[in-house]
């Protein structure tokens, strides 16, 4: 078994430089790599491109990097709920590429899988199609979309082991598995690092071959964006 553990987030982030491209897992604030984001803020790395479905909120998630103006470009599918984001985008400080959510997921998955390009119907006939090749399959138009290229992928899992095997929980799974192995280096932070051999080999969502560095996060705030409950009768 090849050991992928690093002792902490600092070690996990070694080699990070300005102007790099990062992938970050999470949907809204659910399943985001909180500890890695905090370290990126601390490192004050600049001019980065972030591939992430959302951009956090003003004071959490990727919003923390936006506040410090560390991000040059965001590649996302949905960026509502973030006033600072909107300000930077409308003022032209921040470059934003909005792409369909399924295309975002599949471009990560393609990078993991060594598929350089694929066709999808999403976005045909819209702004998203501008500058892209289109082609008909089964009487329906599709766009040619390419695999992402990134330097680091930061993902967050529920449990993991020293081999880098990962298990996710609930809807906090989202983009995290698809980003593993989709960048040159994948950094996985987990809520709980368990001894090798305790995860059932049938029940590992992402095997360690897709992960270069793994560590247990110091703490998780796991903020809820839209608390919605029903009354008990």
């Amino acid at each position: 078994m090849i050991n992928k553990t690093v002792s902490n987030v600092k070690e996990a982030c070694q080699g990070i430089k300005d102007s790099m491209t990062f992938m970050l897992g999470g949907f809204g604030l659910s399943g985001i790599p909180e500890n890695s984001i905090a370290e990126l803020v601390r490192l004050n790395v600049k001019d980065v491109t972030c591939i992430s479905n959302n951009a956090g909120v003003d004071d959490f998630g990727l919003g923390l990097l936006l506040q410090k103006k560390q991000i040059r470009k965001m590649i996302s599918s949905y960026v509502g709920e973030n006033a600072e984001f909107e300000r930077q985008m409308l003022s032209g400080e921040l470059e934003v590429e909005l792409i369909p959510q399924g295309t975002l997921a599949q471009r990560c998955q393609a990078a993991q899988s060594g598929i350089p390009a694929f066709y999808t119907p999403a976005g045909y006939g819209t702004e998203v199609a501008e500058g892209k090749e289109s082609r008909e399959f089964h009487g329906k138009m599709h766009l040619l979309e390419k695999a992402f290229e990134a330097d680091f992928a930061f993902v967050k899992a529920w449990k993991g082991d020293a081999a880098g095997n990962l298990v996710f929980k609930g809807s906090a799974r989202n983009f995290n598995p698809n980003m593993c192995g989709a960048a040159k280096i994948t950094v996985a932070e987990v809520e709980e690092l368990v001894p090798v051999g305790t995860l059932d080999p049938n029940q590992i969502h992402i095997p360690g071959i897709f992960v270069q560095r793994i560590f247990q996060g110091d703490k998780y705030e796991k903020r809820i964006e839209q608390l919605t409950v029903r009354k008990r009768d």
Partner: protein, 218 residues
Amino acid sequence: MALSKEQIAQRIAKEVKDGYFVNLGIGIPTLVANFVQKDIEVDFQSENGVLGMGPFPFEGEEDPDLINAGKQTITTLPGAAFVDSAMSFSMIRGQHVDLTILGAMEVSQNGDIANWKIPGKMVKGMGGAMDLVASAENIIVAMMHTNRAGASKLLKDCTLPLTGVNCVKKIVSNLAVMSIENNSFRLLERAPGVSVEEIKNATEGNLIIEGDIPEMIF
């Protein structure tokens, strides 16, 4: 009288059939779940990776690792499954989801839809909407017939950036139920007490009116 948002959802719920996997967009579509007949089996899919969504949690039972595509805390029902985003969109792009219900800012008479961007004003992003409208065989749009200024949102051509082309099949507005046919809106049902004339006046696109147009039944 024009329908309330709840009534739009209630009317749309009648389109939800036994055995359907359904994706509900944010806003009015989310309300549809409340009105689905109790005697049929329907599974709700959320594009962030949930199949088999249940109602909102009781206070104190919310889980930050369990949300829907609107980022609201949810629960799941027995038989539910969690998947990653790529597999979630395999369900959508692969046409395994039977019915997609979503909101719109504008719909045109050829079935184009615009619901993700108002240039220079509102840029939140398309989320999963472009995948949904490009893939689904069966799309119902829930929307207001006119904007606050009274201008029609059912147009000859959309003026806003498109989400998808030639994809909308059915529309339930606060005034009417319509299908898209032959580059036109075909009027199928009127909201209770709303006249054909009112609907005609509120519709900029071609409107096909044939025979008696019945009132909606809930």
